[in-house]
Amino acid sequence: MTHETLALHGTGHKDTNPVLGWWSGGVAIGIVLVLAVALFQPIGVSTQYVVLDGVLLHNVLPDVASKSPYLAKATQGWTLATFEFFFVLGIPLGALMAAMATARFTTRVVPTEWNKRFGSNPGNRLVWSFVGGFLLLFGARFGGGCTSGHMISGVSQLAVSSLVFSSALFASAIVTARWMYGDWGK
């Protein structure tokens, strides 16, 4: 029991502990957006999932890839050598350096809050992570953007589509999270 409590504490600490406050973090993210808009275009992430899909598929099954007008349009010239893709490539790179520099690298499978509600079975968490990831990108592509493209870039440009998307996103995420983690009636 002590062992388990300790392990839980360890992951919990690593999982939740920000080292940069919301003020500095928010300003840094805002500056990234402003620099990107000054140099190239607003930031976005979810399109690059399609681009990577397209380029990988085009390498293995070029005929199948070319049959999708959506893939062909997103992945112009079937190349990854673009500002947009390298921006997305930079995200895990910067994150890895930040996690290393602050000794917050962790290989925990089951997050603390998930464990509290659904138990410590890693298979369960992984299956739902896949399903959730599917919904995230299906929704993001359907809506033409994600938290970066719609919420940060889009709302900053006062785009109506981004305000509508962000409102629907938060409404649905708040209801789902409160239901999932059993907050109703508390």
């Binding site: 919301w22 973090g25 890895l96 809050e113 896949f130 990108l137 708040i174």
Partner: protein
């Protein structure tokens, strides 16, 4: 070549900021969505506040490369609702899943794989969905200031200031400030 290096550097700055602010933490995200710890909401609101002011100041100077997404109803609402469920279930978004994966979290690796699969399925369903949902309620890349017929900065700068004020006023977590 320069644009690739600039992209990588800006992306790395973005990834590092998200990581250090706790945006890749399932716990922080789900607690924000359950309205128990608003740190991540404050983070997003500050980023939007800085973005509103910065982007529209750039626009006034003529240096901004704006790119406004099309509005199509009801498609964009349905899309947001689907995304929201995925956000609550995984505790990640497409960007922070990459951050969490780089931090070593295996559930985030699986989220990225699920995301690649979801994006692929969407790509092949697109021709059918397009005729179904995008054929009506299509308004193009509309903005609020465009609808009002005013300069964006007139609206964006006070609104940006309001975001920064709001972020400061929202209750904190008692954690890292």
């Amino acid at each position: 070549m320069m644009d690739l290096i600039a992209g990588l550097a800006l992306g790395a700055l973005f990834g590092a900021a998200l990581q250090l602010s706790g945006a890749s933490s399932h716990t922080k995200i789900t607690q924000a969505l359950r309205l128990k710890d608003l740190t991540i909401i404050k983070l997003i609101v500050v980023a939007i506040g800085v973005g509103l002011i910065g982007v529209h100041l750039l626009d006034l100077s003529g240096w901004a490369h704006m790119k406004v997404k099309d509005l199509y109803l009801p498609g964009i609402v349905v899309a947001g609702l689907i995304f929201g469920v995925g956000f609550a279930v995984t505790g990640y978004c497409p960007g922070t899943a990459l951050v969490a994966a780089a931090e070593g979290k295996p559930d985030a690796w699986v989220t990225v794989l699920g995301g690649m699969f979801g994006a692929l399925v969407f790509a092949f369903m697109f021709p059918d969905l397009e005729t179904f949902l995008f054929s009506f309620g299509e308004y193009g890349p509309v903005t609020i200031h465009g609808l009002l017929g005013i300069q964006g900065a007139i609206l964006a700068i006070p609104l940006g200031g309001f975001c920064l004020w709001l972020a400061a006023r929202l209750p904190g977590s008692g954690g890292a400030q």
